[in-house]
């Protein structure tokens, strides 16, 4: 919730509910979206992201709840009166119109003059670097090009909010990475509010100002990308955003700002936001694989046996067996590896006191 206060909310979602029979697609969503913000709705498939976006756009009606646009209630406004730009999952370019025809469609509806329309179409095509494609039909374009045209069309009438539903999911990995940069750049240039739906955590982390994590139609956590990554509230968030090891621990005693914890027969300190816990509390700790250091025998606190290794170029993933912790996932930068771990070999491993995050009790 941190940055919402900083920015004037342009769009407010209050108590949004939408049920399809037994399925709770949206189950009481409250959200404020700041002016000019790049907000990402992130969640696994079926978590209600599209439903929320479609409801914001006006294509899906809520069972309960309200939307306010700069204070004005728009809950019952039809989609054509909301004037949000929208990029659909399959782009939905009109197959019976040229690229220019697609982009000018919203402008003709708004009764712009021919000269204004021509100028704006050219401007939008330049914006997405598609100047020479004005007269093509959509089916003569590649996926990435269609994506750009869809973006140009959604931006042509200068909407104040742009809604994007997994716009890059149909593209291959390399193109996706390029377009991520371009989208981010576009957002910076235009000062338009972006509401972006994706199930891809890397995309969310790299592009967003703020991320909303959804699951089962409920918001799990809202925050800045690094905040969500480093301080996940729940096991779900820690598990969904990146990878985590989970340790069940008992708090032995409180030492000032730190907790002295015991887990798997080992004792270690946990610093950070753990103020509400005291001795004898049971806590769940999340530990990122890349926070774990490994070294030759004797250089670190704990000892484990390498169960499996996986070489990924820049990084190396290992699963270590520790008698108390069980399997521990480690992700180490290859260039800094001081040992060459062999399956079955013994290594020592450890982490800093601030590496573990205390998770809230999960539902």
């Amino acid at each position: 919730m941190t940055t919402a206060g900083r920015l004037e909310p342009v769009l407010s979602v209050r108590g949004a509910k939408k049920h399809y029979g037994e399925v709770r697609a949206l189950d009481g969503v409250d959200l404020d979206i700041g002016e000019g913000e790049f907000l990402t709705l992130l969640g696994p498939s079926g978590s209600g992201k599209t439903t929320l976006l479609m409801a914001i756009a006006g294509f899906t009606s809520l069972d309960a709840g309200a939307f306010r646009l700069r204070g004005e209630d728009i809950t019952d406004l039809p989609p054509d009166r909301r004037s949000f730009g929208m990029v659909f999952q399959g782009y939905a370019l009109f197959p019976n119109m040229t690229v220019a025809g697609n982009i000018s469609f919203p402008l003709k509806l708004r009764k712009w003059s021919k000269a204004e329309i021509d100028a704006r179409v050219r401007e939008c095509l330049e914006l997405v670097q598609m100047e020479s494609y004005a007269d093509r039909m959509p089916n003569q374009l590649s996926g990435g090009q269609q994506q750009r045209v869809a973006l140009a069309r959604a931006l042509s009438f200068k909407p104040s909010i742009l809604l994007l539903d997994e716009p890059l999911s149909a593209l291959d990995k390399k193109l996706r990475a390029d377009l991520q940069w371009e989208l981010k750049d576009l957002h910076r240039q235009l000062a338009v509010t972006f509401i972006y739906v994706t199930h891809d955590q890397d995309e969310a982390l790299s592009m967003s100002d703020r991320i909303v994590i959804l699951d089962h139609g409920q918001i799990q956590q809202i925050g800045l990308p690094d905040q969500l990554y480093n301080q996940p509230d729940t096991r779900f968030v820690a598990d969904f955003l990146g990878k985590s090891n989970f340790l069940e621990a008992k708090v032995c005693e409180r030492l000032g700002g730190a907790l002295d914890c015991e887990s798997g027969g080992e004792r270690f300190n946990v610093t950070g936001e753990s103020s509400s816990y005291n001795g004898a509390d049971r806590v769940l700790l999340a530990l990122r694989p890349e926070r774990i250091r490994i070294g030759a025998q004797g250089t670190e606190r704990f000892h484990g046996v390498v169960r499996q290794t996986s070489y990924l170029g820049e990084r190396c993933h290992l699963i270590l067996d520790h008698p108390g912790f069980g399997g521990v996932l480690v992700s180490a930068p290859t260039w800094r590896m001081t040992v060459r771990p062999e399956v079955g070999g013994e290594v020592s491993f450890g982490w800093d006191d601030d590496a573990c995050v205390v998770l809230a009790e999960d539902q």
Binding site: F59, F84, G85, Q89, A92, N96, F105, L109, F157
Partner: protein, 282 residues
């Protein structure tokens, strides 16, 4: 052992041979005969074709045929479009049922459906009797033995042929196009006109061609509902051959109808994907 010694191609020909033989004996051969007779009865030459242009009844019959086929086509398109649209915009669970209802008439012979219309539309048919009974009319309305009756029942028979291609077309249209148009500021009507309808045009044209061509050569329904007063060309041909034994006129008219139909199909081929219309109906 024999099968193994055959090539793939050989096996293929053996499989289609019976069908090919049937086509040649009962379809192509008679057609060639008809062609021959039209130039040789009652005496060799082009007399039959020359007189076709002089005969008023024949010209009238061609005009009626094309007019009835055209009006039937227009009604079938309008009604077929509405039905197809309804099918794909209703609750998904009713779609199967509605398609079944569209296909149901195929299970009843055209003859029976035509007699059913006679029962409804006759001078003392169900419609006239009911209207008379509640005092709305004094004397029976002329509901059949005229073009009205013929067209009404033909629309009924032809409707599925209009619905199927339109439906197949609509099925392939992603609903997000209309959503996209709405999101860009189009009213429901505008989204339909600018985005949805243009995408259904191929289906509509296919339906138009199919219904029109089938209507041109239609016989049973116009003969029964027209009562001899709406003489479409197929009935005229039958009359010439069966009643007057006028083989020369009958066969030359058949050839003319065949050529007219071929001309319509070829002309339509510029706008319609013929392969899809006649061979790959969904």
């Amino acid at each position: 052992m024999i099968a193994r010694s055959l090539t793939d191609k050989g096996r293929y020909w053996i499989l289609i041979l019976p069908a090919l033989a049937i086509m040649l004996t009962f379809y192509i051969w008679p057609l060639v005969e008809i062609f021959g007779i039209s130039f040789s009865e009652p005496r060799p030459g082009f007399d039959n074709y020359a007189s076709m242009f002089d005969s008023r009844p024949i010209r009238t019959s061609f005009v009626i045929t094309f007019r009835v086929a055209a009006i039937t086509t227009i009604w079938c398109l309008v009604l077929g479009y509405i039905v197809s649209y309804a099918i794909y915009n209703t609750k998904p669970k009713y779609v199967g049922l509605m398609i079944a209802l569209v296909l149901l008439p195929f299970w009843l012979s055209v003859l029976i459906r035509s007699f059913a219309w006679i029962v409804l539309l006759g001078r003392s048919g169900v419609v006239n009797d009911s209207l008379g009974a509640i005092g709305l009319i004094d004397k029976p309305l002329p509901l059949m033995h005229n073009e009205f009756g013929v067209i009404l029942s033909m629309v009924h028979v032809m409707l599925p042929f209009a619905i199927l291609p339109i439906m197949a077309n609509m099925k392939g249209i992603n609903p997000s196009y209309v959503d996209a148009a709405r999101g860009l500021g189009a009213s429901e009507l505008r989204a339909f006109v600018s985005v949805y309808f243009p995408q259904t045009l191929p289906g509509v044209l296919s339906a138009a061609l199919l219904v029109f061509v089938l209507s041109l050569g239609f016989y049973i329904t116009p003969a029964l509902l027209g009562g001899g007063r709406v003489l479409m060309i197929s009935e005229y041909i039958t009359y010439q051959i069966q009643e007057l034994l006028n083989w020369g006129v009958g066969t030359s008219l058949s050839v003319a109808l065949l050529l007219a139909t071929a001309a319509v199909i070829l002309a339509a081929g510029r706008f319609v994907n013929l392969r899809r219309t006649f061979l790959e109906r969904g």
